[in-house]
């Protein structure tokens, strides 16, 4: 028996979420008294040294497999095969777009249940219970999974990266991938260049209608660049095409959980807060002292964004220069 972790790689590198997933998997494995197996299946597998290094976070064995295309369906097939080979009782995946495309295909192959948006280590004293986000960040549910195999899609930026062990054994893995997994034909991929993806960002600077117009976003971007942050926006800002829709956070946009969320000229409507309220620290900047955002913020500045932002940018540049 074992825990199987999917280690997603992009352009031959692991993201932080993989180290979180392995650290998490190690904790679950220790609870169940089983081994930690990792599968990395992609078109560009990281170097053996990088794969072996997952041992530091608790992996016992790391399987690598090169795919002909980066299709979630193919990754699911490889994972199903690996789960069979190592007798996986729990499969851990990151709760990102790719993970959420893999999980259902895998679940059907393994007759497994899935909990997505998981924010706790399973409680195995009474069944198999995990906590997950529901109502788009407005609440959490404790769910009990009853199938033999369970798939846990864990929320990024929730679990600590823990270094414990030594390098893991790296082995080539082969599984036959059916043609059916390659029925989608990629025509082109357009990765946002030189910007931190919102869903992976530890710091997010977000603007609302109070920014008055797209021409003023230079201030938001300046602060974001200085802090190494991603940019986000409220729904009306995306609806008016001031910003691209993928920056829209909230109940009908993306739910994010950065360490720091800075909201500038955003009122704090319930739908907006749903998507950001799990952020560890929230800063609200608004000229209206009654803005609802101040009720959920840790730090607040009552003032005009066009006065406040340049001061923040200057102070942030000073801090970064000193670091």
């Amino acid at each position: 028996m074992s825990i199987l972790i999917f280690a997603e790689s992009s352009e031959g590198k692991f993201k932080k979420a993989v180290f979180e997933a392995v650290s998490y998997g190690k904790e679950v494995a220790d609870k169940l008294g089983v081994e930690v197996n990792v599968l990395c299946a992609s078109t560009q597998v990281p170097t053996d040294a990088d794969l072996a290094a997952l041992g530091k976070f608790g992996a016992n064995k790391v399987w690598k497999m090169t795919l002909s295309e980066d299709r979630p369906a193919a990754m699911a097939e490889a994972l199903a095969d690996a789960a069979g080979k190592c007798g996986a009782r729990v499969v851990v995946i990151s709760n990102n777009y790719n993970g959420k495309s893999i999980a259902p295909a895998l679940a059907v192959q393994l007759k497994a249940s899935i909990a997505s948006g998981v924010i706790s280590v399973p409680d195995t004293n009474n069944g198999f219970q995990v906590k997950r986000g529901v109502y788009s960040g407005k609440a959490f549910a404790q769910v009990n999974l009853t199938s033999v195999v369970k798939i846990l899609a864990i929320t990024p930026n929730t679990f600590a990266i823990k270094e414990s062990g030594n390098d893991a054994a790296v082995e080539a893995f082969s599984a036959s991938i059916s043609d059916a997994s390659y029925r989608l034909k990629a025509q082109s991929v357009n990765k946002v260049q030189g910007k931190i993806p919102l869903t992976e960002a530890e710091v997010v600077v977000s603007g609302g209608r109070g920014m008055k117009g797209p021409e003023n976003w230079g201030l938001i971007e300046d602060l974001a660049t200085t802090l190494g942050a991603a940019t986000a926006c409220s729904k009306p800002v995306a609806d008016m095409d001031w910003r691209p829709h993928e920056e829209h956070v909230g109940q009908t946009g993306i739910t994010i959980k950065p360490n720091l969320y800075i909201a500038v000229g955003i009122s704090g409507a319930i739908q907006h807060l749903a998507g950001v309220s799990s952020s560890k620290v929230i800063v609200a900047i608004n000229k209206d002292p009654e803005a609802p955002f101040f009720k959920v913020a840790d730090y607040g500045i009552v003032g005009d964004a066009f006065d406040v932002l340049p001061r923040l940018i200057a102070a942030a540049k000073e801090l970064k220069a000193a670091q």
Partner: protein, 245 residues
């Protein structure tokens, strides 16, 4: 073209979420229900496609009788007919398997779901249906065009976008930007009254997950206000006190 639109019914986005029965049940008192926003998008896109190319749009919902008002609204927006599978939508496994069991033999060219349901936030039902029916699955689409049997879609991927092609039949899930949702007009509302809404008994699939209890996020302490004139101090506080930058 025969299109199936999967629809969940969710609390209105302004709902303040609370629980009853010792935090084991969602408190439905005073809650308004709406069509899941992503499902409004897939319904509208389905209508646009069939208006341009001919065909029918069927909506399907797994749920109890109290969701019929929302199903009627989907008919008022323009769906041709509706199916309600009479089962409590306990988890994604159950919902997807029930839909797949019913839809499997109906010959749909295109099955649309939302990217996620804003109550359960599983984001799983579409992928599960595709896997059960062994159909290709295009997740999180912001653009979906059909020419003959060929589908071209743009989907959100982590950190960017991907353009893909595939052949019908397939399953796709709607993301914001797919289209602008339509609202029902008077004629649609009148027509909806006589459109078929068929209730199908569930095939009795077992759920694999059960919500045992709920909790709300911990309440926040009071906000620490910083004088706008000294806004720069915030940066030092975030660095030294909160230790996050």
């Amino acid at each position: 073209m025969k299109i199936l639109v999967c629809m969940s019914v969710v609390p209105d986005t302004t709902t303040k979420i609370t629980f009853t029965d010792n935090n084991t049940k969602f408190n439905t008192a005073g809650v308004q229900y709406i069509i899941n926003p992503y499902d409004e998008l897939s319904l509208t896109r389905a209508l646009e496609l069939t208006e341009a190319q001919g065909g029918t749009v069927t909506v399907i919902h797994v749920g109890l009788a109290d969701s019929e008002a929302s199903i009627r609204k989907a008919l008022a927006i323009g769906a041709h007919d509706a199916i309600r599978i009479n089962a409590e939508p306990v988890d994604a496994t159950l919902v997807a398997q029930e839909i797949a069991n019913w839809a499997g033999s109906q010959g749909f060219d295109l099955i649309l779901t939302g990217r996620e349901s804003i109550d359960y936030n599983g984001g799983l039902v579409g992928g599960l249906i595709a896997a059960h029916l062994d159909l290709p699955f295009i997740n999180i689409v912001t653009q979906l065009d059909v020419a003959g049997t060929e589908v071209t879609a743009i989907r959100d991927i982590d950190g960017g976008k991907e353009t893909v092609k595939a052949n019908l039949p397939l399953v796709a899930s709607a993301q914001k930007d797919l289209t602008e949702p339509r609202i029902p007009n008077m004629r649609g509302i009148m027509a909806a009254r006589t459109k078929p809404l068929q209730v199908v008994e569930a095939s009795g699939v077992q759920a694999l997950g059960q919500s045992l209890s709920f909790e709300l996020p911990p309440a926040k302490g009071a906000v620490k206000l910083i004088d706008a004139e000294k806004a720069g101090d915030l940066i030092q506080m975030l660095h030294q006190e909160a230790k996050i930058i």
